[in-house]
Symmetry: C2
C-alpha cells in the first residue's frame, strides 16, 4: 500500500445549520495541489448499533418506519449519541433498553465502522450484547413506533438473502457479531 | 409483524439545493395524528457497490481518501449513478472499470439495501462481478486518487476483524457475496 495523503482543509464554513441537519462546506487542497472550492460534508452524530442475543440464542430485532427510505424496515436496535456526554457502550445499552426493553450485564464493543465516509462525518460503533433479558418497558422518542421481533440467530442469513433485512449497517453488524461468536 | 403505517407527507420543500448536496424539509403526519414540522432528509443519488472476483479467487479492493471520515479507507469499488440514465448493472461495470481497470462479462445483481434509511433517500445496489480481468486503464474523477489492492477471498474476514475494512457497505456486500458464492 502506498503512503496516500489526506486532503488539506484550506477553509471551512457551516453552509446549513439546523438542530437536525448540519452541512459543512470545505475548501480543500488535494495532494496534487488542485483546489476544490466546495466539498460538502454532513456533520452527523455518532451511532451505536447492537446485536442483542438471549441466553437461548435468540436475537432481538426492531421494525419501524424510516422516512429517508419511506419504508418499514427490520434492523438491529441502535441510535445516535453524543460522545462528549456518553460512552458508546452506555449509549448502546440505553438504546437497547429504550427501543426493546431488553438489558444486558455483558456488552462487548466489536468495532468502529463508517456508514458513508465520503459524505458523512459520523462513526458507527458495533456492539454484541450477551444474555439479554426483557426487564423494562420501552421508551420511544417522539417519532418512534417500534415493534420488537425475536428470531433465532440461524435465521438471520435467510432474512438477509430474502432482503427482509436490507440495511447495510445491520448486515455488517451481523457478520461482525458472527465472527465474534464463532472465533 | 403488525401492519405498520408509513408517515404522510403534508408538504415538502427543498431547504438546501446544490449540485453536491440537496436537503428536503418535510412536514409529516405520523400514524398517531401528530404533526412534525421539520423532518429533514438528504436527497442522495443511488449507489452501486461491486464484489469483483477473478477466476483465481482473488478479490479487487480500492483504497482512497474519504473526506467525510478524513481517513484513507479500503472498500469495494463503486459509486453513484442516475437510475434515469443508466441501469444499475451498467453503472456497476462502469465504476469497476473506471476505478480499477477491471471488467467482467458476467455481473450478477445480489440485492438492494439502504445505507441510512433514517436520513437519506438513496438505495445501494450490491453486485457480484465474476471472472474479472484487468483489461483497461483507470479513469479517475477529479477528486479521486485510487489504489487497487488484490487479496484472496479468504483474507477478507481477517481484514474486517482487524478493522482494515471498516465501511458498513463493504462489510455487508462481502457477507452477501459470500452467501451467493456458497449457496
Amino acid at each position: 500500500m502506498n503512503d496516500m495523503e489526506k486532503w488539506k482543509i484550506v477553509s471551512s464554513d457551516i453552509a446549513f445549520d439546523n438542530e437536525w441537519c448540519k452541512i459543512q462546506k470545505d475548501v480543500v487542497e488535494l495532494p496534487s495541489g488542485k483546489i476544490i472550492d466546495d466539498y460538502y460534508v454532513n456533520i452527523r452524530p455518532d451511532v451505536v448499533l447492537v446485536f442483542p442475543v438471549t441466553a437461548g440464542g435468540k436475537v432481538i430485532l426492531v421494525r419501524q418506519y424510516k422516512h429517508g427510505a419511506k419504508e418499514v424496515l427490520l434492523e438491529f436496535p441502535g441510535g445516535v449519541f453524543d460522545p462528549a456526554e456518553e460512552l458508546p457502550s452506555v449509549a448502546a445499552l440505553r438504546e437497547l433498553r429504550e427501543e426493546t426493553g431488553y438489558t444486558s450485564a455483558n456488552i462487548e464493543e466489536l468495532s468502529m465502522v463508517y456508514d458513508n465516509p465520503t459524505k458523512d462525518t459520523n462513526k458507527m460503533f458495533f456492539f454484541l450484547a450477551h444474555n439479554v433479558e426483557k426487564t423494562h418497558g420501552t421508551e420511544f422518542d417522539l417519532t418512534e413506533d417500534i415493534e420488537t421481533i425475536e428470531v433465532s440467530t440461524d435465521e438471520i442469513p435467510a432474512l438477509i438473502k430474502a432482503q427482509k433485512i436490507r440495511v447495510s449497517g445491520s448486515i455488517a453488524l451481523y457478520f461482525t457479531a458472527l465472527m465474534a461468536l464463532n472465533p
